[in-house]
C-alpha cells in the first residue's frame, strides 16, 4: 500500500449504469437519509440557529424571553477593542503557524521523497504529533517550556546562553512560544499532504530536466512546484482556517494569557459564551470569524481558478 492508493482509479470513469452521471433513483435516498438527517438536524440547523442568535440578546440562565435586537451585537462588536485585539492575535497566530509550517513541511516532504536511510524513522515519528490529543500536546509543551524543570531552559543553560526564561508567561515570548507548538502539532498532516502531491509528479520529468542540465532549484521551480501547487494551495488554505479557529492547544498552554497576548478569537468567544453567558454576542463573534474566513476561501478559490487557467 503506497501513500496515495485510495481514490486512485484506473482509467476514465466508465459511463453507463453505476457510473458517475447516473441520476439518483429512489433507492439511493434510503442510502442517503441516515446521514442526511443528522447533518440537517445537528449541523446545518444549529449553524443557521447560531447565525440567528447573533441578532438576539440571548443569554444563558436568563428568565425573560430573548429579544430580536437586529445588528446591535455587531455594532457593539465593532467597538469592542478586546475582540479586535483577539482577532489580530488570531490572524498573527494563523499566519505565524501556517507559513513556517508549510515551509518546514515542504522541506521534510522533499527529504522524505529522496532515498534517504532514516526516512522510515521520520515517517514513524511524524505520527506522534498527529495522533496526540491536542490537550496532551499542550501539556507536553508546558513541560518543555517549564521555567525551572523544562528541557528548553536546561538546554539553554547547558549551551551557556543564559538562564532561560518563563516562555509562556512573558508578554513578548508567549505568542511566539505557542506558535512554535502550533507548527509542531500540525506539521505531519501538511508533510503527508505535500508528500502525496510529490509522489504524483512524474519522475521522468525530473530526469529529463536533470539531463537538460537543470539544477536542483530549477527542477523544483519548473517541474516539482507546478505539480505540487494545487495540493499546496488546498492544504495551506485549510491549515489557515483550522489554525484561525483553533482552541484546545492554546487553552491548555496559556488560557489566552499573559494579559490576553495569546487570546485567540475562539478563546474569547468561548469565555464570552460559557463564562459570561453572552450567547448572542458570542454568536456574533462567530459570524464575523466566518465572514473573514469566507473571504480567504474565496481568494483561495480565485487563485486556484487562475492557476488552472495557466496550465
Amino acid at each position: 500500500m503506497t501513500w496515495a492508493t485510495a481514490g486512485k482509479r484506473p482509467g476514465k470513469p466508465a459511463p453507463g449504469p453505476g457510473g458517475p452521471g447516473r441520476p439518483v433513483d429512489h433507492g439511493a435516498w434510503f442510502l442517503v437519509l441516515p446521514a442526511l438527517i443528522p447533518i440537517l438536524v445537528l449541523s446545518v440547523g444549529p449553524l443557521l440557529y447560531g447565525i440567528a442568535l447573533a441578532f438576539t440578546d440571548a443569554q444563558s440562565g436568563r428568565t425573560e424571553p430573548t429579544q430580536w435586537i437586529g445588528t446591535l451585537n455587531f455594532q457593539d462588536l465593532l467597538h469592542d477593542t478586546l475582540f479586535w485585539d483577539s482577532f489580530r492575535i488570531g490572524l498573527l497566530w494563523a499566519v505565524g503557524v501556517t507559513v513556517p509550517q508549510f515551509l518546514l513541511a515542504l522541506g521534510l516532504a522533499l527529504l522524505l521523497n529522496e532515498e534517504l536511510r532514516l526516512r522510515w524513522l521520520a515517517r514513524a515519528l511524524a505520527i506522534i504529533p498527529w495522533a496526540m490529543p491536542e490537550v496532551v500536546v499542550g501539556i507536553m509543551w508546558r513541560l518543555v517550556y517549564n521555567p525551572d524543570a523544562g528541557i528548553l531552559n536546561e538546554t539553554i543553560r547547558d549551551l551557556g546562553l543564559g538562564d532561560g526564561r518563563d516562555w509562556l508567561s512573558g508578554l513578548a515570548t508567549a505568542l511566539p512560544a505557542v506558535i512554535v507548538v502550533g507548527i509542531w502539532a500540525g506539521m505531519p498532516q501538511t508533510t503527508v499532504a505535500l508528500l502525496a502531491g510529490l509522489q504524483n509528479t512524474p519522475r521522468e520529468l525530473h530526469e529529463a530536466a536533470a539531463m537538460d542540465g537543470a539544477g536542483a532549484w530549477r527542477r523544483f521551480r519548473t517541474v516539482t512546484w507546478p505539480a505540487l501547487k494545487p495540493v499546496a494551495l488546498a492544504i495551506t488554505a485549510l491549515n489557515f482556517i483550522w489554525n484561525f479557529n483553533s482552541f484546545a492547544l492554546v487553552y491548555v498552554l496559556t488560557s489566552g494569557g499573559p494579559g490576553g497576548r495569546t487570546r485567540l478569537p475562539m478563546l474569547f468567544a468561548y469565555e464570552e459564551a460559557f463564562r459570561y453567558g453572552q450567547f448572542g454576542y458570542a454568536a456574533a463573534m462567530g459570524c464575523v470569524m466566518v465572514a473573514v474566513i469566507s473571504v480567504i476561501l474565496a481568494l483561495q478559490l480565485v487563485g486556484r481558478l487562475r492557476g488552472e487557467g495557466q496550465t
Binding site: 496515495a4 485510495a6 443528522p38 529522496e114 490537550v135 507536553m140 513541560l143 508528500l195 502531491g197 470569524m289
Partner: protein, 277 residues
Amino acid sequence: MRTSGRTRAGQYAALFAYLVFLAFPFLWLVSTAFKPPRELGSLHPAWLPQDPTLDNFRQAFDEQPLLRAAANSLVAALGAAVIAVLIATPMAYVMARHRTRLAKAATGWVVVSQAFPFVLVIIPLFLVLKNLRLIDSVGGLVMVYVVWALPFALWMLVGYVRAVPAELEEAAAVDGAGRVRTLVSITAPLLAPGIVATGLFAFISAWNEFFFALVLLKSPEKQTLPVVLTHFLGAEGVADLGPLAAAAFLATVPSLVVFALIQKRLTGGMFAGAVKN
C-alpha cells in the same frame, strides 16, 4: 538521478534536525512521567530519569478519576465511530457513484463545514441539548461527535468507493445479481479495509476531542479523558509535573497504537481527493 556527496550530507543534516524537532518534546514527556519527585524538583533536570519510577502513574490515578474518564472517552469515541461509519458509508457510496446535485451539495457541505468556528455551532447545540436534557450526558456528546466526524468520514469513504471499480459492479449486474447482492457481495468486501480505517480515524478524533466535551460535560464523573487531564493543571500553573506527565502519556497510548495501524491507509484516503481533483 545522481546526488552529490555534499548534497547528501546536507540532506542528512536536515533530516536529523527534523527528527530532533519531532521527537524531543515527546521524549521529554515520557522521561518526565518516569522521574521521581526528587529529580523533578532538581534545578538541572536530566534528559533521562536516573532512578525511574512508576509512582507518578499511581499518583495520577489517585488524584483524578482517570479510569472513569477513560471509560467515558471509550464510550463516546466507540459510539461516534460506529454510528458515523454506519450512516456515512451508504451516503459516501451515493456521492461517489452519482454525480448529482445532492452529491455536489454534500461535497460542498463537507468543505464548508471545515471553515466554521465551532462556537457558532456549539451555542445552539448547547441550547437544544439542554432542552432535550442531554447536557452532561455522554449520549449527547456521541450525537455531536457523529456529526462532527461525518465530513471527514464522507471525504475518506468517497475516495475508497471510487477506488472500487464500477466495472465490477456492472459485471455483477450483467450476471444477474440484484442491486443489494452486488453491494453486499462485491462492493462491501472491497470497501471493508477503508471502512475500518475511517472508523478508526473517527475513533481517534473523538478520543482526542476537547472543545465539545469541555462545553457539554459539567459533572466530573461524566467528563472525558482530555477534559480530566486539564484538571491536573490547577488554577495556578502546573501543580504536579510527574502525575501530569504520566496521565498525559497514558491518554496518548491508544491514539498512537491505532494511528500506527491505520497511518498508511489514512494518508491515502485523506489526500487522494485533494490530489486528484
